[in-house]
Symmetry: C2
Subunit: 456 residues, 2 copies
Amino acid sequence: MTDHRQAALDYARQHERDFEKNLQEFVAIPSISTSPEHKPQMQQAADWVANRLKSLGMNNVQILPTDLHPVVYGEWLGAPGKPTVLIYGHYDVQPVDPIELWRDDPFSGRVDGDRMMGRGASDMKGQDAACFNAVESIVKTGSLPVNVKWILEGEEEIGSPSLPKFLEQHKELLKADFCLNPDSGMLARDEPTLTYGLRGLAYFEIRVQGPASDLHSGIYGGAVHNPAIVLAELVAGMHDRDGRITLPGFYDRVRELPAEERAELARLPITDEKTKALTGVPEVYGEKGYTTVERIGARPTLDVNGFLSGFVGEGSKTVLPAKAMAKVSMRLVPDQDPKEVHQQLLAYLEKNAPKTVTWEVVMFAGGAASISDINLPGAQALAKAFETVWGKRPYFKREGGSVPVVGYMQKILGMESVLTGFGLPDDNLHAPNEKLDLPSWHNGTKALVHFLFNLA
Amino acid sequence: MTDHRQAALDYARQHERDFEKNLQEFVAIPSISTSPEHKPQMQQAADWVANRLKSLGMNNVQILPTDLHPVVYGEWLGAPGKPTVLIYGHYDVQPVDPIELWRDDPFSGRVDGDRMMGRGASDMKGQDAACFNAVESIVKTGSLPVNVKWILEGEEEIGSPSLPKFLEQHKELLKADFCLNPDSGMLARDEPTLTYGLRGLAYFEIRVQGPASDLHSGIYGGAVHNPAIVLAELVAGMHDRDGRITLPGFYDRVRELPAEERAELARLPITDEKTKALTGVPEVYGEKGYTTVERIGARPTLDVNGFLSGFVGEGSKTVLPAKAMAKVSMRLVPDQDPKEVHQQLLAYLEKNAPKTVTWEVVMFAGGAASISDINLPGAQALAKAFETVWGKRPYFKREGGSVPVVGYMQKILGMESVLTGFGLPDDNLHAPNEKLDLPSWHNGTKALVHFLFNLA
């Protein structure tokens, strides 16, 4: 081991408390991208990131505007002839409702034993910070062995709507050998993981209108089709008895899983018993003919993310609601196209919605699925770093979540991504009481130090 | 026409503005019975009613407590040998949400041309007030020709839960020849109406729980059964393709409509075109094999009154919700029993709910349907009064709404009810922008003056 690598690792070990304090500052900024009233906090988070990059000695640090939330850029290109890695991150977070289920202020960043609590602590301010920590450890003890560029966006949690245009406009600036994207996670503490497949996303809101305004359910019940029932029937019809999605043509482009890949996925340490324990469901559920691991990573799914109609306060109100709304999203696999799924949803509704109501569909987000090459030098450098830190080969997995940016990087920049992360499955991503596992996170910092040296 | 009757009618005509001002005072009290934070306003409304009864010369005026909201009682028994009529009313109103759809403060009582706007203006503070007005017109110009008792409850809009016990406890106090219940309405302006049938009500909240807390739909979509989809499927299964309700045994006790009654109902001036115009729906809808009039008045129905799951704010959130809730209520016809319907719902859910979720049902309200005798002296006195004021025989109809008190009066006090009212179908009952048609209401006051003289 070189002296510099060892010095950087020592620095990382000695500054764990400082890294935690720094992350607490970042978590304290409520940068909720979906909420218009948090726009000032979005700017505040972008400023914080820009200052952090400057503190790491990055050059050309810029806060670049988009149609919505800005992108933060920075670079250090002082290692000519060596590879350039583009480090991706996002500084926005999910909303916090239902707020009443949080045990802390969601933006406290309180450390509770091995955990740091807070919205974004794991997804993904903590992961951004692991990269900051690793680079800090190296630059405070010498020079970076490779070139780095950073891009941190503010719209990942709303589907990265401004990113494609941004990538188109900054192709030259963003040129790199590959992208490190730490927005994925680990299968368990001490189970380092590289993700090679990600599902895509298509997210819609379906709005059904019956009568012009709310009616008395006694006076009109029997005359008017209830829009909540109509929407429930439409949603119910979107799956068949085998848990397959019924939108016309939905499976036409779905790439089947090769037998070898099914065998590889079967080796992952994920069991139905573990999933039940982790989620609290009485039984797992999904498309017939596939294991839970396959259904999550390699099969498309359709979920209702929200449903609202009529009176939902305490007690009873005998209203026949004027309208009903469902947020419905699909997780996509290669080679499904979100725009085609939009058309399939419209075709389904045109065929199945009764003439007793009117309806409309709004599309909120869409991103294609992606699969990366696990033999890339970047992926191999990371896998080797994980072996050094954890003493074991990492798992290679397909993940159910969507990172549209990975698809955009491939399509627009022609750049492969190496996906990883140091969050755990029970981190409560997108849910109340999000937390970050600090031992895994500190190991992540060390692994990223090794990764950067391995790359050189 | 007696001099006194004529004097009372003249008084009513001369005091129309005063009656409106008095009703505005009553409407201004936000007596929302379902809302715990409006408890002081419920007491305020009860006090207002008690003072109004005192102003009419009523004796023994009392605000009698129940387990929830008090009942106001008053009487005038100065016509020995003459019939005694028990006038029923309720001083509570429905909630006002969605508040943003109201054009006025819901409690303004603003007069806009022929209309008075406000929650409760039609249902039923206006109807209570028509009775106050008629009695005021008679007692300010002489003595009442018959005996009257009043009972005004504060829980009608939540299903009258305290009323059965109250009636049991005050059987002697409430003794009367029959009950006048003006909580029904008119088919149209200038179409006076007596209601002889009312549907019952059974109101439930179904709660489905999947995972212990909200999950990320990417990470768990495919592993976990979505509770919003489960509940949508359960709701969808509650009707078959013919619009019939599928709860086991639901139709077993439903009394079939005799051919003569179907012919009588077919004469009512209610068409599908009018229903479409009134409600704004593209097409009417309901159980196959029955007309809209039959479906509303004489057939049971099942409606979703509210549905809530997951994220329902603006924009997108990729959450797999932990739970889903639907408020589901059934309108019942003779001889269905709300307790049996509760069992039928539980049986349906036990049979159809998947093992991937847990669920529970809360019953909020239940009341049986009722049918009254249209040849009662009270009904005939009212029909004759309507003919005098409007110059035409009234319609006799069955109504879709539920007035559980009519069933309680029959069962507990052995007392028939005469049902009427001066609200119109487009009064927006239980909906934003509730209003009262003032010309119909003033005619109603006059009709009630005639009614009381006709009874003597």
